[in-house]
Amino acid sequence: MISFQASEEQQLIQQSVADFAKSTLAPRVRELEKKRGVPEDIRQGAHEMGLGLMALPETCGGQGLGYVAAALVEEELGAADAGASFGLPGPASFGRAVVELGTEAQASALLSDFAADGGADRFGAVAWSEPSPCKERAGFTTVATRIEGGYALTGKKAFVLHAHVADRFLVFAQVDADKGWDGIGAFVVRKDNAGLLVGGRHDTLGLDAADFGEIQMKDAKVSEEDRLLGGEGGFTQATLRFFAKQAIVVAARAVGVARFAFEIAREHCDTRKAFGKPIGHFQAVAFALSDRHMDVESARWLVWKAAHAWDAKLPEREALLATAQAAAHALDACMRTADDCVGLHGGSGFIRDLIAEKLMRDAKQLALCCPTAEQLDQIAAAIDLGLPLDPALVLPTPETQAIFT
């Protein structure tokens, strides 16, 4: 039955996260931005609430609440501080990737300690994109060479979330050069690996509270067990599922940013007077707000629908299509809303005294933290047209657009 009614449990979780976001994150947005990180006390609070573990299965230390619950929570975080929503501790994209690509035993071994003591300082990371695309052949420049008992990884990765704080990375590398995008593999590289070097931190447009940077592998040796072979449907399919779930989380945050931008724009248009009346009483302004309201609401419903498709285990192509549509729409809607929010504020929207300008910067970067709207549209079209999900077509490769992971 079509229903927009969250369960009681979901409502309770959403409410407690909304309270946390409003009381703890929102007042300190600029502080986190300046510090370029999330302070210890906030990380501790988030860890105690289990914020980063909600959608992960219980078998690997998660709460098993599913992606609808995650969407509700991530929207609240995004509506308070999108930067913090990326900067909070936990397995983050690493967790989502390991669940899809690893066996249950691997996932459990790699993720269980995030819920334990010290979790407030524990981060996982995914190293996917590279500073520049491979020019000689299809696939990554980072290579994994077979050695006795495992693999040796060599190459550079960029746009890695938590590059400097993570203690474990999932690194994607070329195993079989001749096979192009069909020849890639995923390997767990730990911080104490002698061959791992953490490079510089990116100076980014937005999401300042989150750390994005480069890592480099020089003959980094990993064992056979550290390779994740991909679950159901094979490696490409599992990788695509990982990116789909990543997209749902990022899209839910985008809905949060859009909602916040809409709210402050509405508030401004309600109180700011010109020509003797609130500017929201002029049609050009009110109609723009109406359009953005439609954007925000429809984006939220589509994200819920996509999340529900995975939770309800609908056929995979159906869930992928719903996800691609939802995330592309949410990312676009978020950018439009943040843009209009700055525009409707006029000059003051451009000044850092107000939050509007930050929302616009965050919105733009957010749109690069999962497969981009353009890539998602290609995925949706491939599904609509009944094409096989060729990795070169549907994965966000550095050849098309590098993304933050």
Binding site: E297, H308, A309
Partner: protein, 408 residues
């Protein structure tokens, strides 16, 4: 629980209408458009079939509100959601046919909302024996040559004379207005009084002083009748004043009649989505046949992107339609959401029809080659016009976003 899957009953209805649409209605679509008529024979058969599609919880309009029928209070009605699903499927097959289906049409909601029990029995009663006798329609006459979106500006006058009301004026763009057994006609006792002066009458076919003017020649939805109605000293008995005098003591009486839009707008949105989806699927199949098999994927990435954008715009609008109908079923006030659904769906579907034509290239605009696509392009525009234009929807939304905004 948050859920976006259809119930078993809804799936059955959707699949039933889909196959009827594909195998029976679509093949007639172009000839209906050319002949400007939906064959009566088909409508009669359709009415018989539709009985089987009826959702269990469709309320008997006469009994509703009188508590004559016991309804299980724990059972949530899904009738608005089910209607939206059915409307989209029928419009996918042929939108003009859907608007021509016999029954009270848009005239139903105001009678249901404001009519007395006697009026409900009298005006809904005539539809009961359609399976034996002639087909019958109801209609809703609000728009005038001088007042469309500005409802408060209607000039059709009414004055009490003895036990009758005398109506003078013109109504235009009335769906099924000429063939209707009765029209719900809005008139004013005093144009200066605004909405407080409005009265709604049920004017029956054949009432002296009531004539049908011209039948409009339209860009799209050509198989559906759009009529002009003329009232010259038309005498209507006082029993036909909708809701009786008591309904107009307060301004709320009239507002009840206007609230019917909250239920009908999402359905009009759903119809727009049906046409939009038809165009999307057409373009998708065109791309499949003309690009996919013969060219490498990167060569048509731009076409694929356009297709995907059409798809997600329709999907976003559909989510707003479902949201508005969900609220209607739950009894939550949804004026803003109804307007959002209608505005977004009209826009998304127009975009779909335009893009579909462009994706098919020059062929797309040739009625000889892609006649259906050309027809949908003509049909869809009015979905951003009737039941409140896109701009009027934004007025409704704006008033609910800004505090203290009564009018622009």
């Amino acid at each position: 629980m948050i859920d976006f899957t259809l119930s078993k009953k809804q799936k059955e209805i959707q699949e039933g209408i889909r196959s009827l649409g594909k195998f029976v209605i679509r093949p007639m679509s172009l000839s209906m458009d050319r002949n400007k008529e939906v064959p009566e024979e088909f409508l009669r058969n359709f009415m018989r079939l539709a009985k089987g599609f009826r959702s269990d919880d469709v309320v008997d309009p006469i009994e509703e509100g009188v508590a004559a029928r016991e309804r299980d209070p724990n059972k949530v009605s899904e009738s608005n959601r089910t209607s939206a699903i059915a409307a989209e499927e029928l419009a996918w097959a042929d939108a003009a046919m859907l608007l021509s289906v016999p029954g009270p049409g848009l005239g139903g909601p105001p009678i249901r909302a404001t009519g007395t029990r006697e009026q409900k029995e009298r005006f809904f009663g005539i539809f009961k024996d359609m399976h034996k006798g002639p087909l019958k329609w109801g209609a809703y006459a609000l728009t005038e040559p001088g007042a469309g979106s500005d409802v408060a500006g209607i000039r059709t006058s009414c004055r009490k004379d003895g036990r009758d009301w005398v109506i003078n004026g013109r109504k235009c763009y009335i769906t099924n207005g000429a063939r209707a057994s009765w029209n719900v006609v809005f008139a004013t006792v005093d144009p200066a009084a605004g909405r407080a002066g409005h009265r709604a009458f049920v004017v029956e076919k054949g009432t002296p002083g009531f004539e049908v003017g011209k039948i409009e020649d339209k860009m799209g939805l050509r198989a559906n009748e759009t009529a002009e109605l003329v009232f010259e000293d038309c005498r209507v008995p006082e029993e036909n004043l909708l809701g009786g005098e008591a309904a107009y003591v307060s301004k709320e009486g009239f507002m009840t009649a206007m609230k019917t839009f909250d239920n009908t707008r999402p359905l009009v949105g759903a119809m727009a989505l049906g046409i939009g989806r038809a165009a999307f699927e057409y373009a998708r199949d065109f791309v499949k046949d003309n690009y996919v098999l013969s060219r490498p994927v990167p060569r048509y990435a731009a076409i694929a992107e356009r297709l995907a954008k059409v798809g997600r715009k329709l999907e976003a609008a559909r989510s707003l339609v479902y949201r508005a109908t969900y609220m209607a079923d739950a009894g939550i006030p949804n004026a803003k959401e109804a307007s959002m659904a209608k505005a977004a769906a009209g826009q998304a579907a127009i975009h779909a029809c335009i893009e579909a034509i462009e994706i098919c290239g020059a062929h797309g605009s040739l009625s000889s080659e892609h006649a259906l696509l050309e027809k949908w392009f003509r049909d869809i525009k009015v979905y951003d016009i009737f039941e409140g234009t896109g701009n009027i929807q934004r007025v409704v939304i704006s008033k609910r976003l800004m505090s203290g905004l009564k009018a622009f």
